[in-house]
Symmetry: C2
Subunit: 225 residues, 2 copies
């Protein structure tokens, strides 16, 4: 994990940080509030930039344990299900959208880009610490779930008038390929975002946000806590 803001959030989360590479300035500013059983290596901004995967990172880098996140048995509220989302920026933005709308769980196909890719973490802006992202074989998983699965696709029912069940799953595929055919048999209804222009599709994170927004507008049940 890289960068001041993200590393501070990480250090205050339930992730176990093993190693911290920090400048003296970062350490002096933050050591009072930092707990944890990590190895500290003080280094220069130049040394940090040399090992960083970002263009500008001159304060801190953390090495942390990866969590193996399993899917909760009882999903509450809206859950996003992602099929084959390959772009790390899209996954990161999706996680941030989920966090904004209080979506607790994202369930991704095994060929979706890995959560712990630097670009995913960066685009998620710390939201990966709050939203549980788990990976599974979607076809089997969706076949055996009792909650309704709604597929997001251009010609589905107008999301503005859609009746969401309180606990439900929204399945999103890639913009260019849609979802894999074997998943379709698990779909109960299709949700569409009405278009008023001429582009063929919306970015997947944008679509997810519009669907979450309409879910929240029509379902005022609090999901958190």
């Amino acid at each position: 994990m890289e960068g001041k803001k993200s590393v501070l959030e990480l250090l205050h989360s339930d992730y176990s940080v093993r190693t911290l590479l920090a400048t003296e300035a970062f350490w002096l500013e933050n050591k009072q509030t930092l707990k944890g059983n990590f190895d500290l290596h003080l280094c220069s901004p130049q040394e940090l930039e040399a090992v960083s995967s970002f263009k500008t990172n001159n304060s801190v880098l953390a090495v942390t344990e990866i969590k193996n996140i399993s899917i909760p048995k009882h999903l509450k509220g809206l859950t996003l299900v992602l099929d084959s989302i390959k772009d790390p920026g899209n996954l990161g933005t999706l996680i941030r959208v989920a966090d904004w709308y209080g979506v607790e769980n994202i369930i991704a196909s095994k060929d979706t880009v890995d959560l712990y890719t630097p670009k995913v973490l960066q685009a998620s802006m710390g939201s990966f610490l709050r939203v549980k992202v788990s990976y599974t074989a979607l076809e089997d998983y969706l076949k055996n779930i009792s909650l309704p699965v709604y597929l997001a696709q251009p010609n589905g029912e107008n999301v503005h008038d859609f009746s969401f069940e309180k606990n439900c799953l929204v399945l999103l595929g890639s913009e260019s390929h849609g979802v894999h055919v074997p998943l379709i048999s698990s779909v109960k209804k299709r949700i569409g975002i009405p278009s008023y222009g001429r582009t063929e599709s919306l970015n997947v994170a944008v679509s997810a946000a519009v669907i979450c927004d309409n879910y929240r507008r029509t379902n005022s049940h609090p999901m958190l806590g």
Copy 2:
């Protein structure tokens, strides 16, 4: 402009293409439908990749005239106003969002990233051919406009209940810095997207989409044509 789909859209738009670098395969497949007064250079996929700014482009590249887009005097429907949007991916996605929701005009501050940056064009997926993106000194422009200006910001009036005037401007700033202070005096109302989680902000293109979606849901007036 690079890539098969985007170049084909460009060639069917009102942009004047000057030069086309194409593989023989692309040319044979498309020459029947292509009109225009451009120079054609046939080349190998390897040569194309060598001059391309994208990782994979093995069919076509077009050199086109840049348009100087001026702001229409009479803005219709919803217009997006962007202050200091620096990320090319965000601007491209914003243009695509505008196209989806039939927003005809985007007005950007002079320090917003240039429309003709390769990453902007790529992320806009051809939508820049339909949405007019113009650049101006926003402070003076907004002072003299008679339409209402709504500022998108976290604590504004709930967008779900917001009464949009049919013809209006929505002002969006960067996620980290908001809009420049001198613009605030032109703002009539503030629109907020309600949050149900703990992240501090939404991506600017995601915010724009949610606002456009709510505008469209409550204003069924067609904007196009």
